[in-house]
């Protein structure tokens, strides 16, 4: 088997001997030329390695015979057309070399399991630890990379870096924050969030310290979480109650009548950059736009069968903006002020507005809007009872 492979690899020539084969064979044997499948009789001949065929001439001359090649067989003959096309084997060798070299590097970094962490954040973190397209696979340690990324993102419950061919896959699972399960057990009081007159009370836990109809001030204790029994024993509760009181509130919003806004001039600048195996090749010759330009970047990567290749196009679109002063009409200022007041109202637990009084004024370029309301509002506010343990 090995003989046959060696004969195919080096090539073999079958030749016919015109003359005395015995003398010729003896000369070949003395000159160390190995022949095989030697035939005598009427049509003598033999096989010889292609590289040794020229050496047979001197043996034939000495033996007084002539040789005629009959068959050629093996790789050197079947690949002889490549002699005229040297570029083909050179290209194949170069291709193989490139394939070996490029397969030693990481060409794409992919992420799976991202929820709250953005891909951009993760890409920047990977860049800092050297996990970038073009990095040598041997130069980075996946275990160390995992540890560094875990330290960078404490909210991640587990993370692993796997290399699949030339792709590094960062797979992670973000942790779920543990809810405060003990909050309802913690002792607390209910205090008044605003001054007013209590209309009705619903006490679910704790000892009521006020009654419906009472007037209360802001911060006054309404329901106590500390209850005392008939024997003088003290029990701590998580007080819970709904205390609706009639309160007076004043909401104020001040809106400037002139403001500056960024307005596009309509000028747009598109810059393109090609990314090839970690190299960035600018395709546009225009320089960096100034500070008055704002831009967005779109990265389009080439994908084949879902695998990202290290070839991408980066399109950076910048638009020029200038600052323009805009003057608001009183109506526009009023609308803006009303929106601000509504936001302030929604932060409170107002149940019903009983009466409302509006006023507005303009001074020093500001539009001031004030609303005074009388409302029914839940004024209960939990305040924790801090205990110092002596144990």
């Amino acid at each position: 088997m090995l003989d046959r492979f060696a004969r195919w690899f080096w090539g073999a020539v079958k030749f016919r001997i015109l003359g005395s084969p015995e003398r010729f064979f003896n000369h070949c044997a003395r000159n160390g030329i190995a022949l095989w499948e030697m035939e005598g009789g009427t049509e003598p001949g033999a096989w010889v390695r292609a590289g040794q065929y020229r050496q047979l001439r001197s043996c034939a001359r000495e033996a007084g015979c002539r040789l005629r090649a009959q068959e050629r067989h093996g790789l050197p003959f079947s690949a002889s057309f490549l002699r005229r096309r040297r570029g083909l084997p050179a290209g194949a060798a170069l291709g193989a070399l490139l394939l070996i070299l490029l397969s030693q590097q990481v060409w794409s970094v992919e992420f799976t399991g991202l929820q709250t962490i953005s891909e951009q954040e993760m890409r920047v973190a990977c860049q800092e630890i050297g996990l970038v397209p073009g990095a040598w696979k041997a130069s980075f340690d996946p275990v160390l990379a995992e540890q560094q990324l875990m330290l960078r993102f404490p909210g991640v419950s587990w993370l692993t870096v796997n290399t699949q061919g030339s792709t590094a896959v960062v797979a992670l699972a973000e942790g779920v924050e543990k809810p405060d399960m003990e909050a309802w057990k913690r002792p607390c009081n209910i205090r008044s969030a605003a001054a007013g007159q209590i209309l009705r009370m619903e006490v679910y836990a704790g000892q009521a310290e006020v009654a419906a109809g009472d007037a209360v001030t802001a911060g006054q204790l309404l329901v106590s979480g500390v209850t005392e029994d008939a024997w003088g024993g003290v029990t701590l509760h998580h007080a819970a109650a709904r205390i609706v009181a009639e309160t007076r509130r004043e909401f104020t919003a001040a809106v400037p009548l002139s403001r500056t806004e960024q307005v596009s001039t309509g000028r747009e600048l598109v810059r393109r950059t090609a990314g090839l195996f970690g190299l960035r090749i600018p395709l546009t010759l225009s320089g960096e736009p100034g500070a008055s330009w704002q831009g967005e970047m779109v990265r389009t990567a080439l994908r084949v069968n879902g695998v990202e290749l290290p070839v991408f196009l980066l399109t950076e679109t910048s638009r020029e903006f200038t600052e323009h002063e805009i003057l608001l009409t009183p109506q526009e200022a009023l609308d803006e002020a009303k929106r601000q007041v509504e936001t302030q109202k929604s932060a409170l637990k107002i149940e019903r507005i009983l009466s409302e009084e509006e006023s507005f004024s303009q001074q020093d370029g500001m539009f001031c809007y004030t609303v005074r309301v009388v409302c029914e509002e839940d004024i209960s506010e939990e305040t924790e009872i801090f205990l110092n343990s002596t144990n």
Partner: protein, 87 residues
């Protein structure tokens, strides 16, 4: 024990004698290996004559073929019918 020693001496003396002449090894009637030969004198399908020192070894048979050959050995294969030593 003495017989064994004698046998071993016998085989050693055989080797000693063989080193002075050709070493012909037959594998059934299909193949013959000749070591210590100096060249081919005659070669066709019916007979192969080989010079081996002062002797000439002649193989006769059918479809005889020299499979391979070096400066002092060769392998003859085919249907061997006879082996003669000529002086």
């Amino acid at each position: 024990m003495a017989e064994q020693r004698g046998g071993r001496q016998g085989s050693l003396s055989l080797l000693g004698r063989a080193s002075s002449g050709p070493h012909v090894e037959l594998i059934g009637n299909r193949e013959a290996v000749v070591e210590g030969c100096q060249g081919i004198l005659e070669y066709d399908e019916g007979s192969v004559r080989v010079r081996a020192g002062r002797l000439v070894v002649r193989f006769t048979g059918r479809g005889l073929k020299i499979r391979c050959m070096t400066s002092d050995s060769l392998v003859v294969e085919g249907f061997l019918l006879g082996l003669e030593f000529l002086t």
